[in-house]
Amino acid sequence: MKKYALFLGCTVPVRAQHYEMSARAVAKELAIEFVEMAGASCCGFPLKAVDAETSLLIAARNIAIASKQNLDVISLCNSCTAMLSDAQLQLKNNEFYREFKKLGFSYPNEITVKHFVRVLYEDIGIDKLKSAVKKRLDTLHVIAHYGCHYMRPSYLYGFDDPEIPHTFDELVNVTGAQSVEYMDKKMCCGGSVLGIDEALAVTMANHKLSIAKNNGVDALISICPFCTVMYEDNQRKAEEKFEIQYNIPVLYYPQLLGLSFGFDMNAVGLRFNRVRPNALLEKIGLSD
């Protein structure tokens, strides 16, 4: 049993419970134990543009919670992972650490921060995942959306190739679904500019949606609640703006993985997906 502290952040526990549910379900299946982080707050990322130090201190405080339990942190959100990783690096910097201690916090054990998907790839491994697959989703064609902060900035992560990322594709392929190679794979979802210029953000999201449509895929697979907001919640807006019909389901990776583990569609919270994946379910013989 591998134990990790689970960092939920703001969006997942309130707006993306299906992501959380499915992540918990597949983790359980893979003998990963999640320990709840009592007192964990926002990761700090939203304040980075306002004041980097403040955001780092908020992030570092969250890390301190896991450090006290001497547990490595798993995060479900790309941005949270980046923010916490940055703070984890900063904690090795004396100047920052002094400031951190001034607030009465401590960092007793050095711990690492990883995205859940990275843990699946590195700590669990493709082979073990393969052996857990009970129902191969061979009929599905999907595009894997990495999101920016999954492998970038590479100086924080040192994971995957920031130019030619491949780990998430491999993970998708494990389920039997085929991860289609497509253009502009590393393109940003636009989430970060949503609050500044909605039209621009929707245009950015539309780019990948249109690529997905051109590729005729069954779904877009996401690993970040932020990206999902752009591709799923704002899909209608993109459709209106560009006068096009997409109707592309956006699944969180643990949902897809859970289906391949043979879980019931309710166990992975599929009824909470805003773009109904009915066609997809039909394809894999799970239509209700």
Binding site: D161, E163, I164, M183, D184
Partner: protein, 702 residues
Amino acid sequence: MRVLVCTCKDKIKLTNLDLGPDVKIEQYFDLCKEKPAIDSDEKVVIAGCSPNLLETLFPNLNCEFVNLYEHIVLIGHPIEKARDLIAAAVEKMKVVTPIKAKIFTIEKKSVVVIGGGVAAIEVASQLAQNGVGVDLVERSPFLGGTVAQLDRLYPEGTPYSHTLMPQIAKMLESKNINYYFNTEAKDIKGRIGNYDITLQTCSRGVIDCTHCGKCVDVCPVEVDDAGKMRKAIYYVPTYPDIYAIDFNACTKCGECVKVCEGKIELEDKIAEQNIDAGAIVIASGLNWYDVDKVTEYGYCRLPGVMKTLEFERAVASGVLKPKKVVIIYCAGSRDANHLPYCSKICCFLGLKEAKLVLDRYPETQVYVVAMDMRSFGTFEYFYNKLREKGVTFVKGKPSEVIKRNDSLVVRTEDLYTNELLEIEADTVVLSAGFVPDTATFDKLGIKLNGDFPVLFENADLGNTALPRGIFTAGAATFPAGVADSLVDARKAAFSVLNLFRQDKIETKQPNAVINEDLCSICRMCIGTCPYGALSIVEEKLKVNEELCMGCGICSITCPVYASQLELFNPQGLSHQIRTLIKKGDVLALLCRWSAYNATDKAAYDKYLYPENVKIIRVPCSGAVDPSHVMDAVNNGAKGVLIGGCYPDACHYARGNFRAKAREQILKQNLDLLGFSRDIVRLEWIGKDEANKFVEIVKEMNK
């Protein structure tokens, strides 16, 4: 001890000088003319005019100079000051270690030239013609190096053979050269005048050859040799006239042996032999940067993306006939993630490839995407010509190369219009930089500075940072074109000839000496030596006399004074300061290469400064110890000025930065001990900045 005092033809009037019974004072009317004999082992003090002059007249002596003319007479200070200065110099000389002459005997007068490209050929040829025996050691089976791989040379676009073949012919006229092909220098021992080199030779496969070419016809193994296809048994039309087997590709099927009119042995064995030499010339040339590391440009990943060499060979041999070509400059160059430097020659290589393809196929559309076009000198004409030929130059650095609908797309910003630009093409050429082949330098333990074997920011150091018997030629130290390599090769040949005129070289340059009774091998000093002259040999700290340049930085770094610079040890300077400095004085410890010269200029230009300013000449600002400052302060000095060269301009590369770090921490220390932080000041003073020097000492005197 002898103190030689010069009146400088009666300009310095110093009388009644008595420094005790141990010190013998000799007065001269004109020291320059009279030139008294001084034993080379003797310690003396010479007082007269500036050491800048006296040193040229009395070189290589165990001598401390006292500058009476520029520092007292011309500046109008009372002559009584001379007594203190001389007495202090005497105290210093009492405790310094005298210089031991270093004699390097040139026992062997033959040369090993490592490499087989244009530079190596030129060096070998020039030396052999001058009667020097040469052993030429080439790693590959054929001569010609990088040049022999090319189709043509820039800027004219002449075939490489125009340059290389006459050069080889000229070399072959000399009988003084032994050739070692398929050979590497595995180990190099010894020192100037007597090197022992172990050579390791792999077999060529072809023992005897009639050049019939039948072996090539039957060989089933195709090899892609940088864009050009050849067989596993092959020939490069340079020298020697014998085919060779590429054992990395050969399957030993034996087909060639069956048809051979000469003799082939399919056994790849390794043989070793030792040769000796008095000097080594490293002409090992350069390697192409592995451009597949620049992943965003898709080399190896996207078909149609190639390196310049591959492109050149493919177009020249007719294998490739592109319609639309994008040549991306600086692929990995001037890039912190790859090669941080500019390789100097790739801008022309890129232009050459553009011309090559247009010469063959004038209808080709060619785009060159470059951050900057560095077409210095006459290359500007070349650049002009290519624009007139219709090449489109884009200013920018492409972000990535992608594949879209079966064609390559180069994404960039066009900096002229400030708009995003996507160029579709069938061929993308990556003009990458070069890395010198440093294998030989590694074997010699020669310190690399970043990526290069010698320091480049300091012209003098470029020559002195190599052991005295090692020379470089061509692109071994930095990417260079053919013309530059040839000039450099002749320079190297001249240096070797110059060395071999002598049977021994004697130097009396001060060196660092290690007191093994004190050295605890703490290694604090090793990294601070700008020349890599310090190393641990058999668990003892050793100074390489071929490399030590006498800066004294290690002796100041050493926490126990186990390292001592001859003629200038820290204790000597300490004695000098304690004798010289009285309450209220200002001490100026000035680098001999820069700040000290400014004081001479101050005298000539009549920038006057107070008489309590006392000047001591030091080899480098990095050769001053914080305890020297403490000594002066303890004696009541108002201030201590350390004058050094400007940043990056230090004669000893990094001495002034060492001084800076010491000064900064020392200031804090002195602050806590109740002194003003400015009681010690490290200032950069150029050799002509007399006014700056004077202003500073005046400020410190307040």
